[in-house]
């Protein structure tokens, strides 16, 4: 098709140059809403937000408000939160419990309960149904639009509007193993994490991709966090901002767009530092989960991660802190960040409390680390809107040519510690979506996994 954008010129990863138009241009932004956000798998929430039947949580997919809910049959569903009649927001509270969603404007009501309706979301109540519509309104067609693909992956809930979207696990590829490092129990058991109450939501005057790209693999910006290191905000007393770690590698998934800063597969645990948190109960817990983890994983393959991004706009921290973030697009120069935080469900209260305090002083608008990131991102945006600035593409050449395949992971490349390899992968994926390629044409060359991976028991 012909297109008003020259995507390949804007995303020139062969030269390692990416146009600033991606971050400040209104037309690009509007096209993204259609071409990226109506197709890709997006994080919409966590099952901890809707534990019981009829619970709901109002989320977003792109600029669309959506309702994440669980029906009486315990199916998790996502609906457009805009009345088919005249567009009113049907749910106006952040979360709650409703057996029937009733639109406040003219009173249409909708049910998800399969005992009441054939199609969840169907209209069950229409004021003046006989008198006004002669009983002839199609209750299914004018029900709440329902998102066709929704999956609960270890408690995290994802959705895609595209009926042709690949299965979520194919969309993730082997990035799944890295996502597991956030969602699994510290002892290596699959899942086993629990959501802390409270969803942090805040606005930043920068493009949404600036956030996603940063978390996809920018070890280079460590200098931004010098002040958090010096203030020693880490969990272990007298340490920088987190426990000491070897240098992370930028590991990206070509053709999928995901990436993170972590460790290539290994067959044993990294060294363990006992008694470093200065509280016997907490130290005992970490020792216990470590022992359980060693027993569970044995000499099987495992990976480790600090931070990563699932294309297009979900980012996560796997351990210190441990949180899932959504970068919701608001405009070409504004993003609404959401953060939710995880702990091991069965950890003692002392451990959960320590983590909760650490998460709040690290992340979110009150976080001593994240606050400095946001200063960078807003300044990047403000300084890129000028006509001359827009002529100068950003440099993404760091680590070019250093990409090496990763033994044990399908389609993964390791481009070293200080590298923009993951950003290049991310924007190549963005370009595919922006060119409206078919899922078949965008499918990555699937190199088969060479090793069987450890999933715990």
């Amino acid at each position: 098709m012909t297109d008003r954008f020259e995507i390949d010129r804007m995303v020139d990863t062969d030269r390692g140059v990416i146009s600033r138009e991606l971050f400040v241009n209104r037309d690009v932004f509007d096209a993204e809403l259609e071409r990226v956000f109506t197709r890709a798998w997006l994080l919409v929430g966590h099952e901890g937000l809707i534990p019981d039947p009829d619970d709901y949580f109002v989320s977003r997919m792109g600029k669309d408000s959506v309702i994440l809910t669980r029906n009486q049959q315990n199916e998790i569903m996502v609906f457009l939160n805009s009345c088919p009649h005249r567009g009113m927001k049907v749910c106006r509270y952040d979360q709650g419990n409703e057996a029937v969603f009733t639109c406040p404007y003219h009173g249409w009501s909708f049910s998800t309960n399969r005992d009441r309706v054939e199609v969840p979301g169907q209209l069950v109540g229409v004021p003046h149904f006989e008198a006004g519509y002669s009983g002839n309104l199609d209750r299914v067609k004018w029900g709440l639009p329902r998102c066709p693909n929704v999956i609960n992956y270890k408690g995290s809930i994802w959705a895609s509007w595209d009926p042709d979207a690949p299965a979520f696990e194919d969309y993730l590829g082997d990035m799944k193993l890295y996502l597991d490092t956030a969602l699994d129990h510290r002892d290596g058991a699959p899942g086993g994490s629990e959501l802390l109450g409270g969803v942090q939501k805040w606005r930043i005057r920068c493009n949404w991709k600036t956030v996603s790209e940063n978390f996809a693999g920018d070890l280079y910006h460590g200098i931004s966090h010098q002040s958090a290191n010096l203030a020693e905000i880490g969990m272990a007393t007298g340490k920088s901002r987190r426990d000491a770690l070897p240098l992370r590698h930028a590991i990206g998934f070509e053709g999928l767009g995901h990436g993170g800063l972590g460790f290539p597969p290994s067959y044993e645990e990294r060294p363990f530092i006992p008694d470093q948190y200065g509280d016997p109960e907490i130290d005992a817990y970490y020792k216990q989960v470590r022992t359980a983890r060693e027993r569970r994983l044995g000499d099987r393959m495992r990976v480790g991660l600090v931070v990563g991004t699932i294309f297009p706009n979900m980012s996560f921290h796997a351990d210190q802190p441990r949180s899932l973030a959504f970068a919701h697009p608001i405009s070409e120069t504004e993003v609404e960040m959401w953060r939710i935080y995880l702990v091991d469900a069965d950890a003692p209260k002392a451990v959960k409390d320590m983590l909760r305090h650490y998460y709040m002083r690290y992340s979110g608008p009150g976080g001593m680390t994240e606050s400095d990131d946001m200063e960078n991102w807003t300044s990047v945006t403000a300084a890129s809107e000028g006509a001359i600035a827009r002529r100068h593409g950003f440099n993404y050449q760091l680590g070019m040519g250093k990409e090496q395949p990763v033994e044990g992971l399908r389609g993964a490349v390791d481009s070293g510690n200080y590298s923009e390899g993951n950003a290049r992968i991310y924007y190549r994926r963005w370009a595919q979506f922006m060119k409206e390629m078919s899922w078949d044409d965008m499918a990555p060359p699937q190199t088969k996994s060479t090793v069987e991976v450890a999933h715990g028991d």
């Binding site: 709650g96 109450g197 942090q200 805040w202 709040m360 200063e375």
Partner: protein, 179 residues
């Protein structure tokens, strides 16, 4: 002077005293004298800012996140506040480099309760914290504050501060100012 008049006078003096203290505190913050401000906090201070949810009017029990249980905007003690001050002092904390201009305004002050010896008082007020930084970035933080002040060696100290910000989505990119 009758008993009632004396009690009334004492109440007014106490309120004046507390108001003067809070204005002094605001001056320290706006002058960026953070070390001096730290000295106004008790070692066992609780400094808490919940997040506000949009809830139905019959479901307001869930309106605010819970102290010591949920994720809040801020929920901490002296150790973390000291870390925040230490971070500001590095000169490398980009969120406040160059430093923001702030004005802390306090109004509607009431002394709700005072202990017998007048060495601990619970107060309530409104705050308006205006922040302006760089060229055109500005934030207006408005809300309610419940403070517990304790007299230590003749001077007021802040033993507890609850900050109810009137925002759901935080409209500021960060909270690198104190409240």
């Amino acid at each position: 002077m009758g008993i009632d008049a004396q009690a009334e006078l004492q109440r007014l003096l106490l309120k004046e005293d507390v108001g003067e203290f809070l204005a002094f505190e605001a001056d320290l913050l706006d002058a960026r004298r953070y070390e001096d401000w730290l000295a106004l906090l008790t070692d066992d201070i609780r400094y808490w800012m919940p997040m506000a949810r949009n809830t139905a009017s019959d479901d307001t029990g869930r309106e605010f996140t819970i102290e010591d249980e949920d994720v809040n905007w801020i929920d901490e003690g002296i150790e973390t506040i000291r870390q925040r001050v230490a971070q500001l002092a590095t000169g490398l904390h980009w969120a406040e480099q160059p430093p923001s201009r702030t004005s802390h305004m306090i109004s509607n002050l009431r002394v709700l309760e005072s202990s017998d010896g007048l060495d601990e008082v619970k107060t309530r007020c409104r705050f308006l914290v205006y922040r302006n930084r760089l060229e055109d970035e500005q934030n207006i933080f408005v809300g309610k504050r419940n403070d517990t002040l304790r007299r230590v060696n003749g001077s007021w100290k802040i033993a507890r501060r609850e900050i109810y910000l009137d925002q759901n989505v935080m409209l500021s990119k960060n909270l690198s100012v104190f409240f």
